[in-house]
């Protein structure tokens, strides 16, 4: 309980969130389908109910420059996540940060998943902010330079044994409140539905459907495990990107590398994301 309070205090002093939804190198390599198929601590960004499925402590770090070279700026994104299994579920922590010149976005998540046998329920508490630094010199009239919000995510996951299948559902940004700057509009609700299944022993399929603000997206990912699960080849597609990735498992560590091509905007060319995971 003391640990939980400590975590809440730490997290509540952070600031966070953002619409960018590619949090994990592993998930991106699978078409960003993470609602049911992502079995590591990065799942907190997609569906907190998965936290109850994780039997070990996981740690994950991802880094990318998703838009490559930008003339007048440099945008980089990193996120960190970790989880701790509990008696009937699991606790998770997530942190996401976008850094650019004079501007940053931070999102922190505290998640908890509870295991009702084959049915997991999960919830995230999120606190986020946008920061504009040195802004008052540009706009003397506007002196507020932080946008804060608090929000919740909700998710569940159904684990089926025969066939071995997981069905996940999550709602992002429930009951969000927002203040700062001059805009009071709430954050957009986002609905995710995912299903994943082992097609073969070495092949795993995940499919996600996403809806937010009149915008439908999907994610389809195929994962191939070879060389006694040491190497994973991943292929994914969604409405925006085609991706491919490789994951290398070395003892307790995994290195993910994903490259993707932007379907909608060829101007963005290829981009890549790298991740390091650990499992104890």
């Amino acid at each position: 309980m003391k640990f939980l309070i400590l975590i809440i205090i730490i997290v509540s002093r952070m600031n966070a969130f953002f619409e960018y939804s590619y949090y994990s190198a592993k998930a991106l390599s699978l078409g960003n389908s993470g609602v049911s198929s992502l079995l590591n601590s990065d799942a907190i960004f997609y569906n907190p109910a998965i936290l109850a499925n994780l039997s070990k402590i996981n740690f994950s770090f991802n880094y990318s420059k998703p838009f490559g070279e930008i003339i007048n700026d440099s945008i980089s994104i990193y996120n960190i996540s970790a989880n701790k299994p509990l008696k009937r579920g699991g606790l998770g922590l997530g942190f996401y940060n976008l850094i650019s010149d004079n501007y940053s976005e931070i999102l922190s998540l505290l998640g908890y998943g509870y295991d009702f046998r084959n049915f997991n329920f999960g919830i995230n508490l999120k606190y986020g902010a946008l920061f504009f630094s040195n802004f008052e010199r540009y706009e003397p009239i506007l002196n507020k330079k932080i946008l804060n919000f608090i929000s919740f995510d909700f998710g569940f996951l159904i684990n089926l044994e025969k066939p071995k299948r997981r069905i996940g559902f999550s709602i992002i940004n429930i009951i969000s409140t927002r203040n700062g700057l001059t805009d009071k509009k709430s954050l957009p609700l986002k609905f995710n539905l995912g299903i994943s299944q082992n097609i073969k022993e070495f092949c795993h399929l995940g499919v996600d459907l996403i809806y937010s603000e009149n915008y439908f997206n999907y994610g389809i990912g195929l994962e191939f495990l070879i060389l006694k699960n040491i190497i994973e080849f991943n292929f994914g597609i969604n409405r925006e990107k085609i991706s491919t990735g490789i994951s290398v498992n070395i003892k307790n560590f995994t290195i993910d590398w994903t490259s993707c091509y932007n379907i909608l905007f060829e101007e963005l060319n290829l981009s890549s994301i790298i991740g390091i995971r650990a499992k104890f």
């Binding site: 838009f67 007048n72 945008i75 010199r137 540009y138 003397p140 009239i141 330079k145 932007n262 909608l264």
Partner: protein, 707 residues
């Protein structure tokens, strides 16, 4: 040989005698009551009237600087009058001038009052302004042109310009605003005696009118509906007259005019007037008869010289009604009585719209990039035979603003080439430039409007090593709301250091300095290149700096001919707690704050498809406050004009926000994003990417939106 000499002498004398020119008495833009001739303007009044005069920044003509505000109160006492006197420098000869003009408007209380304007040459010589304006004085500015020929024959003795509100006919109170008082050498060609638009018996020369009858006849006069109505009963052998005197003091010299024009109609109840005699008194009475007057308005014109009238000495004009054959009664109507010259051809056309507009030596086109300190120029001319353009005005406006900001006005009489003063554009913005030509009658022609881009760092980088003032914030070019400033003249122990409150800066300057102006982020000690005995100290307050510019990056530059010279600059905090830059220099001229190097802009060389890519800001705050409401992306290109350049705005989630296609124009491509999506709604605060795609190149620009 002698013949040639006399021809040359004649030509010299001729051209000297026909020199055209304007004399601007004051446009009041320095905000004080001292004219450009260094004479103080004052208010005066008679009877129980009250008058006051002051500079007014809210009602200036063209919304720049100040106007002269004249406030008066006349009681119902007929002898009440309130006025302002604008003394003139009597060391100047005014004999070459043929008109006095100014812009005038009044508040609603003043619109119906009798406002006279004129000169004092030992006598008050007035015209009723309402008679010289088509609709009288209104609440909008109009230009009044008062002919001096006929008003005074003694311009050598002119002492002042006077403007008077008289309570004789319209007691009341009001406020009159006056701007741009000018004498001009063009001859207007027309002198209005009475248009009756003021519905008073005095004519426009301030002369009284009277009626009389004999032989049992009767006449009376009504001034209503803006014409003269003369109900009459004329008995056989009798007659009646309406007489109006020229001026309060006779005679007046109308030798520049050759015709008397008026319009009239008759409305008879019984019989017809068979004779109306037009008589003019030049010491003796001379005239001519009109055998009958039409039932409808008709114009009549008489050649004064043909009647043997000495036009240099006129006392009065009379309309005399006779009926030789029986009695008659009815109404005679008269209107629009005026003298004109024989070649009078009013310039009813607006001037040719200004063209060939340049900044420096470059032709102005849409999206010209304007750098620090340029002078605009334009060609324009009048359509009339006279050189009748009185001024050419240069203005700019910020994008999406309906306010035109005054740059300067050229009053030189060239009928061809006009030039603005040095212009420092607002920093990093799209702005519009236009030029307007105004003739002596107030007709205005506007040039085409040009979109321009201010990007001082961008273009100056081509010519100088050190970048100059990347952030030329505009202080509205007004003498108000200027931050604290300091000028120290060491050799005279002279010091100014205060917030400026609308006083004329020139009052504080050394005698060798004619004026001190604030320009962009600096000052202009006029005239340039006066060498002081000892260095003067220049102190310039540091305004808000754009992102990326630090106080230590700043330096004061001096404009030495076309080169900008950096001066050793110190930074300190003055007694008002302002951060101030300080330098010493021995010459007058332009001093502005700049940056030591390029740190405030993007200036990147690429291949021929995208050259000199320019990005105005990283931040976009679309709140219509004039700051960062648009992001401007501009680049030079060698792409052909029919080749497309694509701009796409996306958010980081990959959602398309807006897209536009542009074609290069004059080897330049400009894209402006106002923070709105394709549905014309403002986007959420966020970071956005603008993708630029040309034939072979793709570039990405990041923009942060804050609302």
């Amino acid at each position: 040989m002698k013949t040639k000499f006399f021809i040359i002498l004649f030509l010299i004398l001729y051209f000297n005698s026909t020199i055209k020119g304007l004399l601007l008495i004051d446009n009041f833009n320095d905000g004080d009551l001292t004219t450009f001739q260094n004479k103080g303007i004052s208010a005066y009044s008679g009877g129980s009237a009250n008058a006051s005069v002051s500079p007014d920044s809210q009602n200036s003509y063209g919304n720049y600087g100040f106007a002269l505000k004249f406030t008066y109160t006349n009681s119902s006492t007929p002898s009440d009058w309130a006025g302002i006197s604008i003394p003139l420098d009597n060391s100047i000869s005014y004999t070459n001038f043929h008109y006095l003009s100014f812009f005038i408007k009044g508040n609603l209380d003043a619109v119906g009052d009798s406002i006279y304007a004129g000169i004092y040459d030992g006598q008050n010589r007035f015209v009723n302004i309402s008679e010289y304006l088509p609709y009288g004085i209104t609440t909008n500015y109009q230009k009044v042109v008062i002919p001096l020929d006929g008003l005074s024959s003694n311009l050598k003795a002119i002492q002042s310009i006077n403007i008077v509100a008289e309570g004789k006919f319209h007691p009341g109170s009001g406020i009159i605003y006056i701007d741009n008082i000018t004498f001009g050498t063009n001859f207007p060609g027309k002198f209005i005696i009475d248009r009756f638009s003021d519905n008073i018996k005095d004519n426009t020369t301030y002369g009284d009118s009277s009626i009389g009858a004999w032989g049992g006849s009767w006449i009376t006069n009504y001034y209503e509906n803006q014409y003269l109505k003369l109900p009459f009963i004329i008995q056989s052998g009798g007659g009646a007259y309406y007489s109006t005197k020229f001026g309060p003091v006779q005679p007046l010299n109308f030798s520049k005019y050759h015709k008397l024009n008026f319009k009239a109609k008759e409305e008879s109840n019984q019989g017809d007037l068979n004779t109306i005699r037009i008589e003019i008194n030049d010491g003796s009475t001379k005239g001519t008869n009109i055998s009958s007057i039409d039932k409808n308005w008709q114009n009549y014109s008489f050649n004064l010289l043909g009647l043997g009238i000495n036009t240099a000495s006129l006392n009065s004009l009379q309309f005399v009604l006779y009926d030789w054959f029986g009695s008659t009664n009815g109404n005679l109507y008269i209107d629009e009585v005026y003298f004109v010259s024989s070649n009078y051809s009013p310039d009813t056309n607006s001037p040719i719209k200004p063209y060939n507009i340049k900044f420096g030596t470059n032709g102005l086109t849409n999206y010209s990039i304007i750098t620090n300190g340029v002078k605009f120029s334009a060609n324009c001319s009048s359509l009339s035979n006279d050189i009748s353009i009185e001024s050419v005005r240069f203005e700019y406006s910020l994008l999406n603003s309906d306010k035109w900001v005054f740059i300067s006005e050229d009053f030189s009489v060239s009928n061809s080439f006009y030039q603005s003063s040095l212009f420092f554009p607002p920093f990093n913005q799209i702005f519009l430039v236009r030029v307007s030509a105004i003739d002596i009658y107030g007709n205005i022609s506007y040039s085409d409007t040009y979109y321009c881009l201010s990007a001082s760092l961008f273009s100056l980088s081509k010519t100088i090593t050190n970048y100059l003032g990347g952030w030329l914030r505009n202080y509205d070019f007004s003498y108000i709301n200027i931050p604290a400033y300091s000028l120290y003249f060491n050799s005279f122990s002279f010091k100014i250091s205060q917030n400026y409150n609308g006083k004329s800066l020139k009052d504080f300057a050394l005698s060798t300095i004619s004026d001190i102006k604030f320009i962009g982020n600096g000052i202009f000690l006029e005239p340039e290149n006066i060498v002081f005995k000892n260095d003067i100290t220049i102190q310039l307050p540091i305004p808000n700096l754009p992102f990326g510019v630090k106080t230590n990056d700043l330096i004061i530059y001096f404009r030495d001919n076309s080169n900008w010279v950096s001066l050793p600059t110190e930074i300190f905090t003055d007694e008002f707690n302002n951060k101030v830059l300080k330098t010493y220099f021995s010459k007058s001229g332009i001093f502005i704050i700049g940056t030591k190097k390029n740190i405030a802009g993007e200036n990147i060389n690429y291949t021929d498809e995208i050259q000199q890519l320019y990005i105005s800001e990283k931040f976009l705050t679309p709140n219509n406050d004039g700051y960062n409401d648009n992001v401007i992306i501009a680049f030079d290109t060698k792409l052909k004009e029919n080749e497309k350049v694509y701009f796409k705005v996306i958010n980081l989630s990959g959602k398309l926000i807006k897209e536009e296609e542009k074609n290069p124009l004059n080897n330049r491509v400009i894209f402006i994003w106002d923070g709105k999506d394709k549905n014309n709604e403002l986007v959420e605060p966020d970071i956005y990417l603008i993708l630029i795609k040309t034939r072979n190149r793709i570039e990405k620009v990041a923009v942060k939106v804050i609302k």
